[in-house]
């Protein structure tokens, strides 16, 4: 799947003045690529991620999801080879369809603590897989993901018993449970130590190598080691950084 943001802006009312958190941003996320977005706190990174992730409509602009293959309901007439409706505008969907779309195609790791406190690690990981389907279909996969994230021993633990790194790895396992096309992670390494941070970026890199589009918002400069595409956000303005053009600190 290719996800394209087409001149998206988002403004909020601050008192009586309008304040623009994201200004006409264009960005493309592709399968197999790890895209990193960096920027100061308050520069609009989360807002952009939320818009891409179908959680917050933009004030203007569109977010287009290109499935790459015809959607089944729009399958081409046999023989004509003509494909219709490749592309869906996220915010033209109603709530039910968009919710289902998030569940089907997206894995999202929100900023901060995002575990459901009354569910165990295993149940948390299963949860997105049980909203529209049965547990059984995802149990096997949940075990594999726990194995991969190194949290198998924590299967029956509750989130409050977990460390920050374990919590993030649980959140990633949970985001991957439905085998999504796109993985969003909002500051997944904040409050983690160096080792945990490197582990996490290696995992995200692997996920991208497996063919998923990965979009990571982060503060970490070292993220560039792992990324295919790098964007910078400054006061709502998004800029693509070409390789080797990483601005020096303080610039």
């Amino acid at each position: 799947m290719i996800l394209t943001a087409d001149k998206i802006s988002r403004s909020f009312l601050r008192g009586s003045r309008e304040f623009c958190a994201v200004k006409e941003a264009d960005i493309t996320l592709e399968g197999g690529k790890l895209t990193v977005l960096r920027g100061r706190s308050g520069s609009g990174k989360t807002t952009l991620l939320n818009i891409l992730a179908g959680l917050q409509p933009p004030s203007s602009g569109r977010v287009l999801a290109d499935y790459g293959v015809p959607k089944p309901e729009n399958a081409p007439e046999p023989g004509t080879g003509q494909r219709t409706e490749f592309v869906t505008d996220l915010y033209s969907m109603d709530d039910r369809t968009l919710s289902r779309f998030r569940n089907d195609h997206y894995g999202i790791v929100p900023q901060g603590q995002s575990a459901v406190a009354t569910l165990t690690v295993f149940e948390n990981i299963l949860l997105p897989g049980t909203i529209y389907g049965q547990d059984n279909s995802v149990r096997e996969r949940a075990h594999e993901l726990m194995e991969r994230m190194g949290i198998t021993d924590l299967k029956g633990s509750f989130p409050k018993e977990l460390s920050g790194g374990e919590m993030r790895r649980m959140a990633i396992a949970r985001a991957l449970i439905r085998d999504p096309k796109v993985l969003f992670a909002d500051e997944p390494t904040s409050d983690l130590d160096d080792d945990n941070r490197d582990t996490l970026f290696r995992i995200l890199r692997q996920i991208a190598d497996e063919g998923k589009a990965v979009f990571v918002v982060t503060h970490e400069r070292s993220a560039s080691e792992y990324s295919d595409d790098m964007y910078l956000m400054d006061a709502g303005v998004l800029r693509k950084v070409e390789p080797g053009q990483e601005p020096a600190r303080g610039q």
Binding site: T46, T118, L119
Partner: protein, 401 residues
């Protein structure tokens, strides 16, 4: 099992303190509704049963027994006082102008001593002239009472065919009466011949103090119905004027007094129910508002995973309904445990006849209490649920994490 479907019940089980507090509020609500309904209906039924039995227009007792409270409890509670007069008064009363039917009753006390099976109140009536007790006994027992046969109230532990001993004299239980919710339930009833035998044996035991009255001619009270067209008040004062040493009172005046009292109490109970309902409703509303505010981020996270507005609302509803229904059942059960076994204590506390409703009525009230509680929960959180399902996900995610 789908974790998402199980979420409401898991939330309840794994947050025991929070759940217990909410359950308590819901239980309080249904406790009041159910307990109040049972109480009002118990009073109603007690009153109805009392009116059924209250055939007499006028009650005549010896002067010394005429303190108002005693009279009321004789008429309304079926209490038996131990006061006596000579049965010649019966003839004097019968001779008063306007007196139609008249009959006498005698009250005796038995002891918990070896001579008696149990400490009960004995009431003798005259089957030849009786018009108050007999119609009621007839509901349980249609044959004539033979000598040394007795009828027992529903609280007496003996059954038909058992033998009870009073003052070393054996009596056979011929029938057991249905419940009245009054002291009659703890009485033993005997016909005129039997009670004379018992009176004589009690004198032999030096038990009942008849003073100078001949034990064979002793009575405790006389019940009077006036002739068609006669004025009850006039007849009562005529008896007071012309018969020495007795007091005649109009029973219906007491009944209407107690009826007013009763409707006052029912009214009070209703106001109480309404008050507690409103209070519990407000508390529920505040509690659910706090609960939902505290969990805004959790709900937003569910939305992130792809839960639609509708199914999020459904999930929150289920949790609230689960609390309300469980609480309602617990509260109603507690109310049933309190009101039903202790209706006797409650009755003597209130000094009112009280008869517990039948099982059908109780089940109906239970259903009602549960429904009202569910409705209160639903209504009190209606706004909250719609608010949470409509909430801006990105904004809710910004809440403290």
């Amino acid at each position: 099992m789908r974790i998402f479907r199980k979420l409401p019940i898991l939330n309840l089980c794994r947050r025991p303190v929070r759940s217990a507090m909410l359950l308590c509020i819901a239980a309080l609500l249904s406790f009041t509704v159910f307990g109040g309904a049972v109480m009002v209906s118990g009073l109603r039924r007690g009153m109805a049963s009392l009116e059924d039995r209250l055939g007499a227009d006028i009650l005549v007792v010896p002067e010394e027994a005429a303190r108002k409270n005693d009279l009321e409890s004789i008429v309304l509670q079926g209490s038996t006082g131990y006061f006596y007069m000579d049965d010649s008064k019966l003839d004097e009363i019968a001779a008063v102008d306007g007196v139609g039917q008249s009959t006498s009753q005698i009250f005796l006390a038995s002891l918990a001593a070896s001579c008696c099976s149990a400490k009960v109140q004995l009431m003798g009536f005259d089957p030849a002239t009786d018009f108050t007790v007999l119609p009621w006994i007839r509901k349980s027992y249609t044959e004539d009472l033979k000598e040394m046969e007795i009828v027992v109230g529903s609280d007496i532990t003996s059954d038909e065919g058992d033998t009870l001993t009073f003052y070393d004299t054996d009596c056979t239980v011929a029938a057991k009466l249905t419940r009245t919710g009054t002291n009659y339930d703890r009485c033993v009833f005997a016909g005129a011949d039997t009670i004379r035998v018992l009176t004589a044996s009690s004198v032999g035991k030096k038990l009942n103090q008849f003073k100078e009255i001949d034990p064979n001619h002793v009575v405790s009270c006389v019940l009077v119905n006036v002739n068609e067209g006669a004025d009850i008040d006039q007849v009562a004062s005529a008896i007071n004027d012309s018969v020495d040493g007795v007091t005649a009172v109009r029973t219906t005046s007491m009944v209407s007094g107690i009826a007013a009292n009763l409707s006052g109490i029912s009214h009070l109970v209703r106001i109480l129910i309404a008050g507690v309902f409103i209070l519990a409703f407000i508390i529920l509303m505040i509690a659910f508002t706090m609960l939902i505010n505290e969990r805004k981020r959790e709900f937003a996270i569910l939305r992130v995973f792809g839960v639609s507005r509708r199914s999020l609302a459904g999930s929150v509803w289920s949790e609230i309904l689960l609390i309300c229904l469980t609480g309602a059942l617990a509260g109603s059960a507690a109310a049933a445990l309190v009101t039903l076994p202790f209706s006797g204590a409650l009755r003597s506390r209130l000094d009112m006849p009280m008869l517990s409703p039948g099982i059908g009525t109780i089940l109906l009230y239970l259903l009602l209490a549960v429904l009202i509680c569910a409705a209160a929960g639903t209504l009190s959180s209606f706004w909250n649920v719609s608010r949470v399902s409509r909430a801006d996900i990105s904004l809710a995610l910004r809440q403290e994490r």
